[in-house]
Subunit: 356 residues, 2 copies
């Protein structure tokens, strides 16, 4: 007997068991602890924050009591009194409605989370819609977060500058634009584009295509590096071999097809993200073009899948861990009113099979 074929959600289990009052988790508060410890809330507060005013013995006793009762100080109340917040807002500027699309940006998010965690800060995520730019600062204005980390500048540069002018504490992952007023950390995109392209040239490629949306500052810089390497080698760039795209677009396949139809020569592609490169692999092999024998391929980011596809993907690694850590440093600086910095992380070519 085959299992059920229902195509809509199913209610399972006993919807009846828990009566509508869960063991009312009435959270303790400091007064309770104080009473039980026979001291005032001031003492508890000080003890729990490790103030040296309280002798270690008492401090330990109180901490122990609190722990045993699962008590945590109410962050909201503490923040209100202290007039600050221990939370940073993180916005990932994605393409569409999907909060998150690129695994690389995600790994930055993960590292930001870790770095914040180490400093005892929380992380609040916000999603961004193109038509509601002001949502970005609303978390700040409502006092929910002390600052904003923005991953992926895309085409928001001007808006980010506006925010910087208003004194919004922020840190951005993206390209260092000459007129940026905000703290930014990013990879060395020019160098990365240069390394990737030079590598392909060294592998004997003559007609190297570029795939990447150059209206985005990062991809734009990679494209510059690409052009530089070509120029240095005396290759004339073929503008027909440069394609703007968005991931998931049918445009990847269409572009390949149009190149083939036009009989354009190309023996290599430099894609400005691994996700694109992997899609390209699919599109190429679908058309019977083998990588790397006929076309060599280099991606960008070094997402974890890059080592696991076949052929494994040559790519330019961006240090996501440093990225996270640095973003957090910069946001702390910003909150403390320290002068703004821009940090550029090194790009490293990782040679794998797709360009052999």
């Amino acid at each position: 007997m085959p299992p059920n074929k229902s195509t809509s959600p199913t209610q399972v289990g006993d919807a009846t068991d828990a009566p509508s009052s869960p063991k009312a988790r009435r959270s303790m508060q400091m007064t309770d602890i104080a009473r039980m410890a026979g001291v005032s809330t001031s003492t508890v507060s000080r003890a729990l924050s490790g103030s040296s005013l309280i002798p270690e013995a008492t401090r330990n006793r109180i901490s122990e009591l609190a722990r045993s009762l699962n008590y945590r100080v109410n962050v909201g109340a503490a923040n209100l009194r202290r007039r600050d917040v221990q939370t940073i807002g993180v916005a990932i500027l994605g393409d569409s409605m999907q909060l998150i699309s690129d695994p690389f940006l995600l790994s930055i998010l993960g590292n930001v989370a870790d770095a914040l965690d180490e400093r005892g800060m929380s992380l609040m995520i916000t999603r961004l819609l193109e038509n509601r730019k002001h949502m970005l600062t609303s978390m700040l204005d409502s006092g929910q977060v002390a600052g904003l980390i923005i991953i992926g500048q895309l085409t928001w540069h001007q808006h980010l500058n506006d925010m910087a002018r208003q004194g919004v504490p922020m840190a951005v992952w993206g390209a260092s634009l000459p007129d940026a007023l905000y703290p930014v950390v990013g990879g060395d995109n020019f160098e990365g584009g240069y390394l990737a392209t030079r590598h392909l040239i060294q592998q004997g490629c003559k007609h190297i295509a570029f795939f990447g949306d150059t209206t985005h500052p990062e991809a734009g810089m990679r494209h510059q590096g690409y052009l530089r390497a070509l120029q240095e080698a005396g290759h004339a760039p073929d503008s027909r071999l440069a394609q703007h795209f968005m991931f998931g677009d049918k445009r990847i396949r269409e572009t390949i097809d149009s190149w083939l139809n036009q009989n354009l020569q190309f023996d290599a592609i430099f894609a400005s993200s691994d996700v694109t490169a992997i899609s390209l692999m699919g599109a190429l092999s679908e058309r019977g073009i083998s990588v790397p024998a006929q076309v060599k391929l280099v991606g960008y980011d070094d997402i974890s899948l890059a080592a696991h596809v076949h052929p494994s993907l040559t790519t330019v690694r961006q240090p996501a861990d440093q990225a996270g850590r640095t973003l957090v440093e910069l946001i702390f600086d910003a909150i403390q009113g320290k002068p703004r910095r821009a940090v550029m992380l090194p790009a490293q070519l990782i040679e794998r099979e797709s360009s052999r």
Copy 2:
């Protein structure tokens, strides 16, 4: 001239420009608005929350004033007074330190974010370490969040049950285990495993391998479905063709190699995640085994990349959007003390090239 080759972070830009005081974003507060509007804070509060006690004219005037000044009510203070929070905590149980590894779980996260956003709630992310299970509830105990959404139950089942017993408002994405005390939503893993395997059988496969860590409840159910389909078709499962794994593990390649060395027959693999399936594609093609000609392959989840690899990946789709929405519904129910439910979402086979 080649670009610089520095291998360590670089300081760029003028570190000198912004003097240490950004345009001190002294945030407005309700008193300010009240004064400027010539009313009391009560009126402002009521107006801003859309109370019908305030005539629409006044309401609009005040809202307009607030908007023009970029004023938002301080969420922390409001929460404290109202004794509740408008934030939900989301924990993604990942394998290792990486906050997030699986794109599918991520897309659930994205949908949860959207669904919360629609209800005007914020989302706080926490990372989880195996050795610090109590961190899960600390966001609750400290009053930062009203409930917890947990994505990926892994092997935490017992701990989750403990939390449920303590009355923690929660909702979990995972398998419906018979003794679960917590609200859970998940795919129909048994059905999914069954569909995938039956499909492979219908394609004429005789020796179907299973790849998935069956110590995880979801993969376990998929394995059950796999076994059922085999049994129904009268195929005896070959236990040597069942492999536990973790993504990124060299074990994927090792396993394939060991199968080849032992001369084991296999003409299909059912992998319990797309990420694994894609790695498998790489490992197989590396060894000159072609998909689907020699070995057919079915994955699980239908992550967006699945359609873009080559050959495109046949897989079992899980409705990530419904998942997010349902998790949010369940967490609201839990917070309101409504009875617990378990929801099972349908599984759908998506046929693509890898199994043709």
